[in-house]
């Protein structure tokens, strides 16, 4: 099932399916190492619609809620 990264519960491992949004968001995410097909683990989710903390390729990255909702992911078991 494909959901937005913003809705994933902490502790879950997911795979990036697609990135919505324009050239800017796409390029900024790819620079920091997030591409379609990559696996990532959601580590924490900020309170009151705060940012999402993910672990990707062994690195921690914080994504604002708006950005995270542009990233569509598939849950891995």
């Amino acid at each position: 099932m494909i959901v937005s990264l913003a809705d994933v519960k902490p502790g879950k491992k997911v795979k990036v399916a697609r990135i919505r949004g324009g050239l800017g968001v796409r390029q900024r995410l790819s620079c920091i190492g997030i591409h379609p097909g990559d696996s990532l683990i959601v580590l924490a989710s900020g309170i009151m619609r705060g940012p999402i903390l993910v672990s990707i390729h062994g690195n921690k990255v914080a994504l604002g809620r708006g950005i995270a909702s542009q990233v569509l992911v598939e849950e891995e078991s």
Partner: protein, 636 residues
Amino acid sequence: MRFALVGQPNSGKSTIFNHAAGYKAITSNFPGKTVTYTVSKMTFQGTTFEIVDLPGTYSLTSFDLAELETRKYLLREKVDVVINVIDASLLSRELELTIQVLELNLPTVICLNMIDEADAKGINIDEQKLSQLLNVPVVKTVAHKGWGVDQLFETALAMGLKPVKSQHLTFSKDVEEVLQGLIEQLEQKGYAKKFKVSLRFLATKLLENDQYFMSEIKDIDAQFLKIIKTHQDQLEKCRDRASDVIISSERHHLSMDIYESVVAHSKPKVELRSYLDNILMHPFFGYVFLITVLYLFFNFVFYIGNLLEEPLLDFFYQFLPYIAERLNRYPLLLSMANGIVQGIAGGIAIVLPYLFPFLLGLAFLEDVGYLPRIAFLMDTFLHRIGLHGKAIIPFMLGYGCTVPAVMATRILESERDRFIASVLTTMIPCAARITVIFGLVAFYLGPKAALFVYILNMAVIAIAGKILSRLLPEVTPGMIMEIPSYHIPSLKVLLAKVWLRMKEFIVVAWPLLIAGSIVLSLLQYWRLESYLNMLVSPITLLLGLPIAVGVTLIFGVLRKELSMIMLVQALGVTDISLVMSATQIMTFTIFVLFYIPCVATIAVLIKEIGGKRTLFAMLFTFLIAILLATATRLVY
């Protein structure tokens, strides 16, 4: 000979630079602190060369300002050797930049930095194999320990003496075909000479829709844009995706392939610090910890400062009667000598006791890597004032000095965010204003009153942010930020950093303080200060302050600490509480806190946001200062 350090943010370029040049560039543990380049000369094994520390950049496609700066430097200046610094623990991602650097066709050396971090993560890199695959020398280093740095410079020097141009790596066949087609077209036009860059680099950037090159070409030959478009379309047809995505995923796959073939994985070390974030970034305990840290920090500065201020002041003031006795027949000399003593005493006894512990504490938080965590925790609140989490970094730096803080707003992506953050940063009490808060409010009215000033200040900044984002209702682009690993900073680096920042106070501000004090003495001697006081009297009367305070407000625009140090002199007493009531002290502090930024800040604001917007910032903060100070007079 000139070496340029190029690499992704937080890969350790400035640490290597400082190792070579002495501590000249600020290093911290958050991505993007170097926003402009620093150059230094160094001598190594009898050869003198120049070394340039460039801002960190994720890619060589232009988007953010610091990244543009790096690319501009690489394309326009003559660089003999590019030293590509890589954080070895993030090798796969950092190689994506390396692939672009190799396309520049410049002599290149690769520095695999933070090998210790990579080891801890279980990433063991075969550097010889990497060197073979990339066709350039590779040196392993742990820069913060100085390990391998000499060998790096040896290798770079050898490369500089016998330069070998780097060679590009090849993409998949279908992409290469389109790329070669475009390269041929560019060659016919002779664009390599025009842009002073390799054709392959230019062609790749054009396929990626690079804004800078696209607009340059549009200016020279608008017809050529069609040719570029055809090639982009051709590329999109083979993969059914946007051409920029195709190029960036080519780079991604290429670096993954290299990564797989040079890395042997072992079991990562289990470290306590990887669990720290479970608490420090926790939705509840994270905030408890943050508030505790800030509270302890505040008390630390207050405790040290308070301990030193009084004995130091007593020490200097004991000279005053002695001078008065010696020089009482020469009133002009006497008043000048008084001015000098006040200026020296103000610098040493009032400013330094608070500045030093403050800067030390800030340097510690920066180097440990806590600032990005604060940005994470504060993101949701900053969204409410129309910014995002990263804006907390210029704000935190603003507690040190507004000038670098305004420059640090470059880490924000949109122009609107940078403008709002710059204006708000000018209202954050910098170290100079901290001395006013501590030296006046905390000293005379107690630490609780000082804490109140801070909390009020934060509330005002939040409201001002809200107002500004209502005026500019554009949506902030949102936060994408790396959270680096924690590091235990070395005391040597911390002290070097504090010294670098204090030096600015000692060599620039202190002479100004002394000169200001002398000027004030002379003004008083010739009874001229009353004219200046008259000029400011509408403000002082409105705020219910002694008229004599007026002149200090004028000098305060030069340096904020001048307001307070000259206050002692202007009022002619050493104990301010004798002539100013608690309300007046508070009103004065609130006004000084917010009104017009200092001259240095105005200069950097003009550079960063332009003259008109700077003028707006000045009027806006002045208005806030008047309103709040009047309210303080009536309420406090």
